[in-house]
Amino acid sequence: TREQLQDTYNNVNRQFGILFPQLFGGGEARLILTGEEILDSGIQVMAQPPGKKNSTIHLLSGGEKALTAIALVFSLFQLNPAPFCMLDEVDAPLDDSNTERFCEMVKRMSAQTQFLFITHNKITMEMARQLVGVTMQEQGVSRVVEVDIEEALRMSDEAVPA
């Protein structure tokens, strides 16, 4: 219904405006409706990293785009926390300082939502309470082992046996 969608839009937009500067260490972002009537209009993202001019998301860098998208997804989450969240290497384009802010935010949100995240990044591995290692000791067959951070780092070094 119309009120529901309008409410959701307002809430997500407000959350997005809060989470974006937390992830970027400053700047601002918001959603924009492309039409008059909410029931049939599209949604555009405007994002302004700290110290830059407001730009359409196409001009943003690879890392800035990923971080902006993370802020948007987490805004949807705050509104309606799903039972769990699965992230597949979303930290790949991020530099170290953005990865650290991303991890801070995930840790805060984990009070309400369970996170399962796939990563090759040491900083992200360190925030995990539990590390699940997936290996292929037997070629083409996946097995799961419990690992600690040292073993996890070694796994990335371990080639899949040729």
Binding site: G42, Q44, I57, K65, L76, P81, T113, F115, V134, G140
Partner: protein, 168 residues
């Protein structure tokens, strides 16, 4: 409704019965390229009702069944089961009374998929309804596939609306 366990058998590279326990709130999944990490995410989306083979990187739905490797022969069945802790009774409808919810999907090479909730045979629709509006459908915002994160904001304005409607 926290996820407490995933059980896979015959699903992609998880040919042997495999259990992944997830007791905590912050679970990292690590390992070399091609070892099967993203296949775990595909398994979750499959159980939740994904019906398009290409969304699971296959050409037909049978591509999710273990297809053989250097030393192993293909198998005839894939099965994935998710276990949820529902001690707070937040699952919708008739399922709110159970302390644990187990959702399963099974596919044979020559047949259709079958779905189960707590070992009761259900329709795909029942699994979708169980998670309706929680952001956890097969393609909703709670599961971000590899390489997809930036495409979310590059999406056309109409597509972004879809995410919003899911959260409403």
């Amino acid at each position: 409704m926290r996820l407490t366990k995933l059980k896979l058998a015959g699903f992609k590279t998880f040919v042997d019965p495999t259990s992944i326990l997830t007791p905590g709130q912050l679970v990292g999944v690590v390992g070399p390229n091609g070892c099967g990490k993203s296949n775990v995410i595909d398994a979750v989306r499959w159980v939740l009702g994904e019906s398009k083979a290409t969304a699971l990187r296959g050409e037909s739905m049978q591509d999710v069944i273990f297809n053989g490797s250097g030393q192993r022969k293909p198998v005839g069945r894939a099965s994935v089961e998710l276990h949820f802790d529902n001690s707070q009774g937040r699952a919708s409808g008739q399922w709110s009374q159970y302390a644990e919810i187990a959702v399963k999907r099974v596919l044979d090479r020559d047949g259709e998929s079958s779905y189960y909730i707590n070992n009761l045979h259900v329709r795909r629709r029942d699994v979708i309804d169980l998670f309706m509006g929680t952001g956890l459908g097969p393609r909703a915002y709670a599961i971000i596939e590899q390489g997809m994160i930036s495409r979310i904001i590059e999406a056309k304005p109409e597509e972004l609306r879809f995410f919003l409607e899911e959260a409403a």
